[in-house]
Symmetry: C2
Subunit: 235 residues, 2 copies
C-alpha cells in the first residue's frame, strides 16, 4: 500500500482537523460544557488519587456524572486527562521547589522541599505514579525536567558547600529517596504519612555531614501492616 501516505489530502478540513472543541481554550466553552469539564477534572483527581492512574475511565465519568463521550471529547486520551488533572499539583510542586532554592539555608530548603513532596506522594496514589514516571508523553518533561535537575544539583551543591551534607552525598540520592518513599504509597494514608516522615528523618540524619553523638528525635513509628494492597493494581 505505497501511495497516499494517509493525511487524506482531499479533505479541506485537514488544515484544522480537530478544530471543533478539543483544542479550544476552556474559556471559549459553553458554560455547561465548562462546568462539566471542571466536574470531570475533580472526579479524575479523586479517582486517580484513590485508585491510581489505571482506574477505568468509565469510573471517572460516572463519578463526574457525565457520559464517557463527554470525558473523551474534552480529554481524548488518558494522558491528556492526567496532565490536566495533576497540573495544579505539579505547579504547586514547582512553587515549593522555587522556595527551596530561595531559602538562605540550603539544607533546610532541601528538607522542606522533600517533606512537602513526599507528603503528597504518599497521600495521592495517582500523583505518585505521575510524578515518579515523569510522564514523558503527557508533559513537556524535556525542558521542565532538565531544569528541575539543574536546580536540584544547585541546591545540593549549596548544601554541600555549607557543610550540611556529608561529602559523599550524591544528587542521585534524591531520586533514591523519592523512590524509597513512594514505596510506602501503597499503605493507607494514615500509616503511610507518619511512615514517610520517619523514613525521611532517618535518611536526613544519615545525610548530615557531622552527625551529633546523640541523634535527634524521630517522629513516631506507625504500626505497619504490609498485608495491604501494596500496589498490584486497582482496588
Amino acid at each position: 500500500m505505497p501511495a497516499e501516505i494517509s493525511h487524506n489530502t482531499d479533505d479541506p478540513a485537514s488544515a484544522a482537523p480537530l478544530g471543533t472543541a478539543i483544542d479550544r481554550l476552556p474559556a471559549d466553552l459553553r458554560p455547561d460544557a465548562r462546568r462539566n469539564r471542571e466536574r470531570v477534572l475533580k472526579a479524575a483527581r479523586e479517582v486517580f488519587a484513590a485508585q491510581g492512574i489505571d482506574a477505568p475511565m468509565s469510573t471517572v465519568a460516572r463519578r463526574a456524572g457525565v457520559g464517557v463521550a463527554t470525558l473523551y471529547r474534552r480529554f481524548p486520551t488518558r494522558s491528556a486527562l492526567l496532565a490536566a488533572a495533576f497540573d495544579d499539583q505539579l505547579a504547586e510542586c514547582a512553587t515549593v521547589f522555587e522556595e527551596a532554592l530561595a531559602d538562605p539555608n540550603p539544607g533546610h530548603g532541601l528538607y522542606t522541599l522533600l517533606e512537602t513532596v513526599c507528603t503528597t506522594l504518599v497521600t495521592d496514589r495517582g500523583f505518585d505514579t505521575v510524578f515518579m514516571t515523569g510522564f514523558p508523553e503527557a508533559l513537556d518533561c524535556g525542558r521542565e525536567r532538565a531544569c528541575a535537575e539543574a536546580g536540584l544539583n544547585h541546591l545540593v551543591q549549596r548544601a554541600l558547600d555549607a557543610g550540611q551534607l556529608r561529602k559523599d552525598f550524591d544528587t542521585a540520592d534524591i531520586p533514591l529517596l523519592l523512590l524509597a518513599v513512594s514505596g510506602l504509597a501503597g499503605q493507607p494514608p494514615e500509616t503511610a504519612l507518619p511512615a514517610a516522615r520517619r523514613l525521611l528523618t532517618y535518611l536526613f540524619q544519615s545525610f548530615q555531614a557531622h552527625p551529633p553523638s546523640r541523634p535527634g528525635p524521630l517522629p513516631p513509628a506507625p504500626r505497619m501492616d504490609l498485608t495491604g494492597p501494596h500496589r498490584t493494581d486497582g482496588v
Copy 2:
C-alpha cells in the same frame, strides 16, 4: 430450585470429586506430566520475576511450551501457581532468617538478613509483591508470619540490648525499610541493586546507637533515571 443441592449424589465418584490429578502429589504424576509441571514452574518464575505477578497466564504457558489447560490443571488458580513458584525462595528466606537468629552478633545478623532479602526483592519483581503482600490467600501466612514477627522482635531486642541500635528504634522500622526498598523494585536491576545497597547503608548508619563522628563509606550511587516503568504494570 430447592431440591438436590448440587453434589450430584448419583455419581459414585463424588466421594473423591477431583481426585484425578490436581491434588495428587507430584511424585505420582506421570513422568511427562511431571516434566511439564517443572517447565511451568520454571517459566512462571521467569515471567513473574520479569513482568510481575499480573503477567497473563497464557504468557507463562507459552513460555513453558504447554497449553493453558495444562497450566490450569496443575495450578487451578493464579495464587496456587504463585505459591508453588515462590516456595523455594520463601523457604530460602526462612533459612537466612534462622541464620540471622543464630548469629552471635545480632546487629550483624540483622544486617545480613536484610541485605539478602532486599537483594532478592529488588531483583525479582514477582517476589517483591508476593513477599510484601504476604499473600493471605496463598500461604499459611497466619502461623508463618506470626512466627516471623516474633523472631524479628527477638532479633531487634537482642540488638537493642547489645547497644547496637538506637533506643528509639522500633521493630516496625523493619517493614518500613522493606517497603522503602521495594519502592526501588521498578527500576532495572542494574541500577536497583546498587541503589538498594546504598539505601540500606544510609538507613543502617541511622539505626546505629552511637554513630561514629565520621560515618562509614557508602556503596556507589547509581545513575537514577526514574523515567522508567516505576510500576504501573505490564512490561
